[in-house]
Amino acid sequence: MKFLLARQAAVLAAVALLPAAGEAIYFRNNISWRSAIAPSEMVTLEQARAWGDAAIWVDARPDDEFARDHVPGALSLNEDRWNELLPQFLAVWSPGKKMVVYCSSLSCNASREVARRLRKEAQLSDVFVLEGGWEAWLKKNK
């Protein structure tokens, strides 16, 4: 009985491998195996600063954290109030500007999500995620 169950489970697990492998090949250029964010979508603090006025800083943290402190000139754009904040952001955005999205630290996901939605939903290019996030900014500006 147990052998039959294990054999059936093994067959299903093996069969699922085939389309999974096919899909991995199909999406090979859409996903990085090394990092959750493709290296081309990341930017270091030094690089982002070098862009000067050509960069728009986007704070993806919740409202209370943004209110407490943020990168000077940064715009708040978080997922909690996405529909409300996106039009305000787009009013400030102009073609050719580079967007630097950050959240609290290296391990947070908000910046990645906001960057993804800016690319997908707002159809914007030149959207980058700040490596190290707000923590990295604070460290360099103490």
Partner: protein, 167 residues
């Protein structure tokens, strides 16, 4: 000592035949209900698997949000789990490799539920990813309730499968 079958009084034969018919109807009705549950649970997993399979990049990100596995493993699972769910769900619907499919789906839902609870305990505010972007705004409570309902249904199917006779 040996009694011929027709040695019973005729009324008893009629009663036992009526009992058998009632029992047969009950048995068939019960089998139909279990099959409906097979279809419902199978349908849920096919839907969930298809949503995730269509956007593996997003699903990899959702798995990574749990902060349990390294990124490359999240990517492998993002490609593999949706197909495993779909094949197991088809196993339920078509009663093909049924026990294996049930055991895999039960294991998956238990692991998802434990990972969700662990994430909540660690204070992570995450997208569960269970139904792709459709579940993006689910609260922890509704996520947990859905998982536990599916788990209960899977246990019920497993238990009924032991009792079920082919109709």
């Amino acid at each position: 000592m040996n009694q011929a079958p027709n040695a019973h009084p005729p009324t008893l034969n009629v009663e036992s035949s009526a009992d058998a018919t009632t029992s047969n109807v009950k048995h068939r009705t019960s089998n139909i209900l279990w099959r409906i549950l097979d279809f419902v649970i199978g349908g849920i997993f096919i839907y969930a698997g298809a949503l995730k399979g269509l956007d593996p990049v997003q699903f990899a990100s959702d798995i990574d949000n749990y902060k349990i596995l390294p990124w490359p493993i999240s990517v492998v699972l993002a490609f593999y789990l949706p197909w495993l769910e779909i094949f197991c769900a088809l196993g339920l619907v078509f009663r093909f490799l049924y026990r294996g499919a049930l055991s895999i789906l039960t294991t998956l839902i238990v692991v998802f539920t434990l990972a969700t609870i662990a994430a909540k305990v660690r204070g992570l505010d995450i997208t569960c990813g269970c139904f792709g972007h459709a579940s993006q705004h689910w609260s922890f409570a509704s996520h947990l309730a859905t998982n536990l309902t599916i788990l209960a249904a899977l246990f019920a199917l497993g238990f009924s499968n032991r009792l079920r006779k082919p109709s």
